[in-house]
């Protein structure tokens, strides 16, 4: 079984979050993450046929999770149950814990980790080509990364959720910027774990690459300011 890893990368938030996943998760999940232009519905559907875990990062809302350029990947009542059946799902996205998460559990997913409100953080736009070195963003993004790696270590979903919560608490306690501290606590409050808390997937080897990826040169959609 493989890992379905769907990573959008087309604007500042997806660049920032995908950077951390490229640095800390991609090296251990195999050669073909659904990254950037591959992060679309057809490759996603094909990939889920071979995977025991779905890890996704992209824009979302209560009933939908999107990929590159906000193309739809999963939407309540508009996907086949076999895409999620028997799988552990982690979505780093906004609000999918509200409706999409419960829907995946009804359709046979073993466990779902996600968030019930916006996922928010402060990033440094000047570091868009090397997002993994953005310390401001790390305080909000590393707890989910640590939780995903806990899942890939073979830990249960409850253990991964606890790793994430502990990371948020640790970062909030040491954060001096009150706004960033509020963002960490906001994300922590909105984290959910649905389904079987004892579920786990096959452990993947821990591979830590000493060097970060090369700078990303894919152009981004700029905010209108």
């Amino acid at each position: 079984m493989t890992v379905t890893l769907a990573l959008a990368d087309f604007d500042l938030p997806t660049r920032s979050a995908s950077g951390f996943l490229l640095r800390h998760v991609v090296p251990r999940v195999g050669p073909l993450p659904l990254y950037s232009l591959l992060d679309r519905r057809l490759p996603f559907t094909l990939s889920t046929g071979w995977s025991d875990i779905i890890i996704g990062m992209g824009h979302g809302e209560a009933d939908a999770f999107t990929g590159q350029n906000m193309t739809m990947l999963l939407e309540v009542n508009r996907y086949q149950p076999q895409e999620v059946k028997g799988k552990v799902i982690y979505l780093l996205s906004c609000q999918t814990g509200d409706e999409l998460g419960p829907d995946t559990i009804r359709k046979g997913a073993i466990s779902f980790l996600g968030f019930t409100d916006d996922y928010v953080w402060v990033m440094d736009s000047d570091m868009a080509s090397t997002p993994w070195s953005d310390e401001m963003a790390a305080s909000c993004l590393m707890p989910p990364i640590d939780a995903i790696n806990a899942l890939l270590d073979g830990k249960t979903t409850a253990e991964a959720y606890n790793v994430q919560t502990a990371g948020y608490i640790r970062n909030a306690e040491t954060e001096e910027d009150e706004l960033i501290k509020s963002l960490i606590e906001f994300n922590m409050r909105n984290a959910v774990l649905l389904g079987d808390r004892r579920a786990s997937v096959r452990a993947r080897p821990k591979i830590v690459t000493p060097l970060p990826p090369p700078p990303i040169i894919i152009p981004l959609t700029k905010p209108k300011f």
């Binding site: 604007d11 809302e61 916006d118």
Partner: protein, 88 residues
């Protein structure tokens, strides 16, 4: 907690009238100025979210957050939820 952040939270706890949004925007500016004075805003920090289908941008430079709070009730509500930890 700093006085500036306390004042920001107080302003965000009011009903989102245009006057309240303007006050919250002013409080956010004051908080930003304090952070700059502390040397914590040297690069280009941007408040981002992974939302879609909302009436606010997914990326707002911190220097523009006050403007967005002043003009956009939904963004006012988002920042209120973040800073106060309360859902209405």
């Amino acid at each position: 907690m700093s006085t500036e952040y306390e004042r920001l939270k107080e302003a965000l706890n009011k009903a989102p009238t245009p006057e309240a949004r303007a006050e919250a925007a002013q409080r956010f500016k004051e908080y930003q100025e304090k952070q700059k004075a502390l040397g914590k805003r040297n690069s280009e920090p941007t408040l981002v979210s992974l939302s879609t289908g909302k009436k606010y941008p997914t990326a707002v430079p911190l220097d523009k957050v006050a403007d967005e709070i002043a003009t956009n009730p939904e963004y006012f509500e988002l920042v209120r939820k973040i800073t106060t930890g309360e859902k209405k």
